[in-house]
Symmetry: C2
Subunit: 422 residues, 2 copies
Amino acid sequence: MDSAAAMTGSDLATIFDRMSAIGAHPGAGITRLAASAEDGAARRLFADWMSRGGARIAQDAIGNQFACFDWAGEGAPWVFAGSHLDSQPRGGRFDGAFGVLAAGCAALDLDAEIRAGGFRPSCNLAVVNWTNEEGARYQPSLTGSGVFSGALPLDDALALKDGAGIALRAALDAIGVAGETGSVPPRPEAYVELHVEQGRVLTEAERRIGVVEGTWAARKITAAWTGRAAHTGPTPMADRRDALLAAARGITAFEALVAAHHPHLHRSAARLVIEPNSPNVVVERATVWFELRGRDVVELDIAGRAVIAAFEKATRETGTRLEIAADGLRAPARMDDRLSALAGDTARACGFDPLIMRSVAGHDAVALQNAGIPSALIFIPSVDGIAHHPDELTHPEDMKAGLKVLTALLRRLAEGGFHAER
Amino acid sequence: MDSAAAMTGSDLATIFDRMSAIGAHPGAGITRLAASAEDGAARRLFADWMSRGGARIAQDAIGNQFACFDWAGEGAPWVFAGSHLDSQPRGGRFDGAFGVLAAGCAALDLDAEIRAGGFRPSCNLAVVNWTNEEGARYQPSLTGSGVFSGALPLDDALALKDGAGIALRAALDAIGVAGETGSVPPRPEAYVELHVEQGRVLTEAERRIGVVEGTWAARKITAAWTGRAAHTGPTPMADRRDALLAAARGITAFEALVAAHHPHLHRSAARLVIEPNSPNVVVERATVWFELRGRDVVELDIAGRAVIAAFEKATRETGTRLEIAADGLRAPARMDDRLSALAGDTARACGFDPLIMRSVAGHDAVALQNAGIPSALIFIPSVDGIAHHPDELTHPEDMKAGLKVLTALLRRLAEGGFHAER
């Protein structure tokens, strides 16, 4: 990707097209898993582009990248803007990457304005690429923002293993991302993230800009059933302890139960690992990643308990053993009211009528907000709400609208500072 | 394993221990997948041991190994004895390997007897290791015996791909097994296979030797559901087309339906591949390998049609698309009556009261018999019927009993020939 690195300037369409080529497979979307070779290429393109634009590149020990504009000097507060460059397998072009690149364009434009004497900044700005937001290769998701904000210990994060047993530390090492480099900026006074909606709410409301007031909560349960390997042929049926049958009953019961009693919860079982995986061996172990999302933590607790009871029933019926390998609640986030109000106000000043809305999905802004860093999350529309799929699309005019609002908001923060606006 | 290759002689316990060390992992059984490095080591040990014992090693284009004793010269009929050296992942030590090594020991003992003038053979003998009996890495199973006997075209077999997309041709190449070498013997007039039972029938009947009169039929159905990748968070539930949910309903319905209406059929779903396999992406495609085994082909047909109807219902309920990627019937085999009678008679002459029984599992002998090569299958007990599991065990006295009957039967065939006994 080194030729692409010659890119300079803040033309969003050009840098977006270059980034979209990394990990792209015709008809199969973008595969740029965290700490893969493709992620490495994306990181290099981002760093080269930003440093050609005058930024100083720093990187922390979990691989988060910071393109720093030290406008107000040491000791001045920081504002961050960004998102993530990793993708799902066969994911879309926009998810994450759009937010990083839009923040980069906004920063370059502001930097040019400052250099031309347009205004005098009261704080520094960093454009951030957070490591492994997606959680596709390494679970949990939001790894980089979780470590930065203190929710996830660094050593635990580096020790995470992918499905092939490769530790995140080794994978980062393999793409040349090892340890802290440069002077990493301190906790910022504000963080702003621009993201595609991944739903249809904005389109159905005929709005171009959404300001996210908060997110749904999520309960993530990893259930592992252990049975006993046996020949699928002669082994008497009564002797079998089939972990895949247990998991299938667990998945089926999970969906039926939640659909019947909590129909407005979003629910999924989307990852499953079985051992061994041979047509002639009764499955010994099946691990399933379940997710429940909703606004109400009490309801998630009730639903979660019912779900685990259903798993236990599937376990008894199949003579297997159940282990709840993980059961975590991601609390609903309330984004920073004052920063969100500022975002809404800025959107109106730019000529848009912002929709105050909720996000179902978690984003890096949620991890930071939950750790006490005032954060705002701005949405632009996704066509048909398609996400984590090659067909994901956001129209150019919506991209431009988002960039316009983000730039104006960052200008306001850079000029006056966030706390100064209090 | 080259030091182990120094083994000579027909001591079954010694060669069995050496073979059992290849691909062994403490507490996790034997992993010697077809055409893996471990399979390569097993092949070399077998070939070295047999050639040190005076055999000529030949190999056909699918990698079947023949340790040939050209006792009666060119033009004389052949008798084969053997089984397979590949294993399931975390499989047992006995499955397959015992039959190959027992046949090797029997052949070496007979060869010594012939050299000492004990009797004059009327046919040649080959000890055979068939490629990929297990079907763990490459489906279908019984690959080598299927190609040798003409049921499976060689090019189709070499083009089979494993879960990582590696063709069998390339995998064999990688362990130095490429193309035919030596003069491969022609279709034999008889094939004898000694195998561990993998069930509890012999133990419960308190017998040491089983003569298999025939096998169950098997219907193997591979069902692939296609949905649509989507974000597990914001995507509205009504928009989801979840291939894993469809597969889970398919597996659950399969078990419930067959248990209710065809309880004596053996049934399993033991291999499942999903794409992508990320906790945050609704599964786009799920492929499941189903198996039904029974004695009655008509019943398997009725059950198979009901099962597919249940799959279609799961498909409609989930808005996915179903493709029956494979649907094959392995007919019940009737082993050769005359050869089986000879095996039973030989067992009695050795002092055992053989049990005439059925095999649920397929074995290479079934592939050969179904292709018109008269075959006999002899069983010895498995403790608790455990198979395809590290705990698989056959007691030494049962191994000795099997070897004794096999040697006596091969002596009888080598001396008189099979057709001559007509």
